[in-house]
Symmetry: C2
Subunit: 232 residues, 2 copies
DNA sequence: GCAAAGCAAGAGCAGTGCTCTCGAAAAAGA
DNA sequence: TCTTTTTCGAGAGCACTGCTCTTGCTTTGC
């Protein structure tokens, strides 16, 4: 099923890719709000109605870009962790490396980051095709913590009883084998990481934090501590 | 300067308020992306060009809504903290109360929250009139930590030396008297709080966290611990 | 009482997302 | 190989957007 049938099918794949590329270019230049199908079509030398053969609506185009962005961000985190692992880094340093990779990717692709972690029109529920790519960053973090845990265990204060069942469910769902308290801390740390990156990217740190890079590294270390990663 | 001069000035104030109210209504109903000046004008029985006498552009209208949202959110946090304080709550419980007030406000006004803490078109720098209202929530958090510090001091691990000058500058800028390590942790916690709320609001916790409320309270407690607030 | 300023209305421009129809080209079936 | 079906690009068109400019009317300040 991997073979491309005919010239038509091949052309379709190429045109679809060209549309996404051009859309990504315009996204990087002007942001999601000003991304217009007509402008993309114009730049590609086609008429706007022709574009609807490839994407049924502007939102569908954006969804495609979102999936690609999740994948790109996830890959960046995975690669950074793999590099740290190959260099023999301790779990805490792998964690920080992964966090810094997320931040670096976000700074390089601010509008794409905003697309995935900014405000996706509250109330909007992401289509199912996004949930796989969306979890890649989370999985990297889980993997790091799991490696640390399997090495020598992790010391974390016990969960309040109100959260016991919920943490157990989360553990069963996507982090089997880890202590529930660690999983709960992990999910929170994931959200907090995004908060740090978003604040820097969206200007909330203007006039507040100047040494962004050093500050972020320190905060990432705090997050590592929060999920129980030992300082050494 | 508080007296309203004539009927014209009074009318101007009323119309301006009516425009903002209607815009807020449409914002809550459909989100910022679909907020249209023409629709607001239509609903108010005026023609779209008339609206430009009150707001020079759509972005200016949104900026006005942003300022109001910051103020409303800040007031909610301040009130929650004042209530907790009046009830004799310990700093940690005041902290959690303030965090929960932020979350509750966000859940009640999702689109307005998205307007201020979502993606404000990266690269856009907030106009100066927003920085006052924007810092109200931060000031609440600072006040709580300050009360705890002045009571009995706070134990926090020392800062890495790379962050010393930056933390000292932040301390001098908006949290005079607190230990720099606490101020750095405070700023990070503020961003992390927003990350937690944003993730819940923007659907990132779909299929991940179910018991949102209990989870948030637990995470807020972790944040309190991170800034050094004692558990008792 | 009168000139100046403030205001609403309307027309108009350039742009948008999206739909529909039509003719040409490619693919599939006979 | 010839015919039918599917796929595609182009163009016109609809309803909408932000925004500007001009035209009169009303309120204000002198």
């Amino acid at each position: 099923m991997n073979t491309v049938r005919g010239a038509r099918e091949r052309a379709r794949i190429e045109v679809t890719a060209a549309i996404k590329d051009e859309a990504r270019r315009r996204l990087a230049a002007e942001g999601a709000a000003k991304l217009s199908l007509r402008a993309v079509a114009r730049e590609l030398g086609m008429v706007s109605s022709a574009l609807y053969r490839y994407f049924p609506s502007r939102d569908e185009l954006l969804t495609a870009l979102i999936i690609d962005a999740y994948d790109s961000l996830g890959a960046a985190a995975e690669e950074a962790d793999a590099r740290a692992l190959a260099a023999g880094a301790a779990p805490r340093d792998r964690w920080i490396a992964a966090c810094e990779a997320v931040r670096a990717w976000a700074l390089e692709h601010p509008h794409e980051y905003a697309l995935v972690y900014g405000s996706p029109v509250p109330g909007y529920s992401a289509p199912a095709d996004t949930i796989g790519p969306a979890s890649r960053v989370g999985n990297v973090l889980i993997g790091i913590v799991r490696a640390a845990y399997e090495g020598r265990g992790l010391a974390l204060p016990p969960l309040p009883s109100a959260l016991g069942p919920e943490a157990a469910r989360m553990t069963a769902d996507f982090a089997e084998g880890l202590p529930p308290a660690v999983v709960a801390a992990l999910v929170a740390a994931w959200a907090q990481l995004a908060g740090l990156v978003s604040f820097e990217l969206f200007g909330q740190f203007n006039r507040v934090v100047e040494e962004r890079s050093a500050f972020f590294t320190h905060a990432a270390g705090q997050l590592a501590h929060g999920v129980g990663l030992p300082a050494v």
